[in-house]
């Protein structure tokens, strides 16, 4: 069944305040739509349940990349093309720029927004692993005001998050303190372009004389939502990189991830490949080779 345009309302307040007022007046009634790369798929297939949609596309207050000495702030309405085009972001947060470059096609990147990727909350979300290892914070907004929390606390379950019915994701903040970290991001999908990940691993680590002083790991498609791998981090932190740490790290990550069988892959494949990606990252630490 096709989507019926007459069965859905779409309104376009001219300002962010206008959107927030509408959400406050009728909380839970309106579904925000930005670039439409997720909702319009459901709509075309006739399975978009939301009958009332409120437009976010084109709202200037949501589309910015602002850099200061300590952090960079990205408006939730920024597209992945915006992220790829920002030279500061590409330099300071290369993993996020890399993730942006393999989200769908050029035509998808010109419309898909960072906020949409996070609020949609797919377990396979491409931007999430990078944000998690960069200790991103998210800022939420409603007529009641703004609040900030770690991105790692944003998702609460499969396609569930902490947003209240009258709230929007406003921005994402990244602290600029990873320039000395060794960084890694690799996605494994069916093909290089346009593929949804079977698994993806992101990592950053700080080494001191061969010992891991700090490490952050995050993965997609191995849990109900994109997630930090804290127990695996613990198995590696304060250790020298060597065969013993590699073995412990593999065992830890195999125990920590909880992937499923679905149309794209199997749980078994995802577990094995995620462990291989981790080993690949740790091997780069050992050899001192460049970022992938």
């Amino acid at each position: 069944m096709r989507g019926d345009p007459e069965a859905h309302h779409l309104v376009a307040p001219s300002s962010l305040d206008g959107v927030l007022s509408l959400l406050a007046r009728e909380p839970g009634e309106w579904t925000p739509i930005a670039g439409g790369t997720e909702l319009m798929v459901a709509y075309a297939a006739g399975r978009l349940n939301s009958k009332k949609l409120v437009n976010l596309w084109g709202l200037r207050d949501l589309r910015f990349v602002a850099s200061c000495s300590e952090s960079i702030s990205i408006g939730a309405g920024s597209t992945f093309r915006d992220l790829r085009a920002d030279s500061t972001l590409s330099k300071e947060f290369p993993l996020l720029a890399k993730a942006a470059s393999w989200i769908g096609s050029i035509a998808n990147q010109s419309r898909a927004t960072l906020g949409g990727n996070l609020v949609n909350g797919s377990p396979a979300a491409d931007s999430s692993p990078a944000l998690l290892v960069y200790d991103a914070e998210v800022e939420l907004i409603s007529l009641r005001g703004k609040r900030r929390l770690p991105y790692s606390e944003f998702h609460t379950g499969y396609k569930r998050n902490v947003l209240a019915a009258d709230e929007l994701l406003y921005s994402v903040h990244l602290p600029k303190r990873f320039s000395q970290h060794r960084q890694y991001l690799r996605k494994v999908g069916t093909r290089r372009a346009m593929a949804i990940s079977k698994t993806a691993l992101s990592a950053c680590a700080l080494l001191e004389q061969g010992v891991v002083r700090e490490i952050r790991l995050a993965a997609a498609s191995v849990a109900p939502f994109p997630t930090r791998l804290c127990r695996t981090e613990e198995a590696i932190c304060s250790q020298a990189i060597g065969p013993e740490t590699m073995r412990a790290a593999r065992a830890a990550v195999l125990a920590e991830v909880a992937p499923i069988d679905d149309i794209r892959s199997t749980a078994e494949y995802r577990r094995a490949v995620t462990a291989n990606l981790l080993q690949e990252f740790l091997t780069t630490l050992l050899s001192g080779s460049e970022n992938r």
Partner: protein, 169 residues
Amino acid sequence: MSTAWPSIEFRVNGDQKSVSVPPMKRLLDVLREDLRLTGTKEGCGEGECGSCSVRIDGELVNSCMVPVLQAQGSCIETVEGLSANGEMHPLQKAFLACGGAQCGICTPGMLMAATHLLAKIPSPNIAEIREGLAGNLCRCTGFIRIFDSVVASIADSSSTSVRQAGNAR
């Protein structure tokens, strides 16, 4: 239900247009049904195949994923805008010469993605061509002839008109 839909205005290939349609109607359907610009094709209808590619304000988009209300006030370029004065665009000539078009369903989208690529990168290398067209699927050519077509259009002596068309925002 007979509703008077508010009018939505935008430019298509330089011409001012006004349509009164439901705001959730897809831009693809408005182009094809309301404006009778049937060059833009529907393939998958879910942003995977690129057949419906058009440019909006200089950005390549899948018109199947754009509620027409979001096109309010914008400048849209479709495949119909490529030729000028009865003369094919150099990309169109190259697709013909190199066998870049076979059944033709993907061709308008390929042409728009290639137009967009050349607007951003006037002399792309093969990796850039592959990335620029990665969102456009073809089930006939195996893609190589399409890549060859884009390369040939750059080599074409009339490539200045490629750049002119690409720069039209």
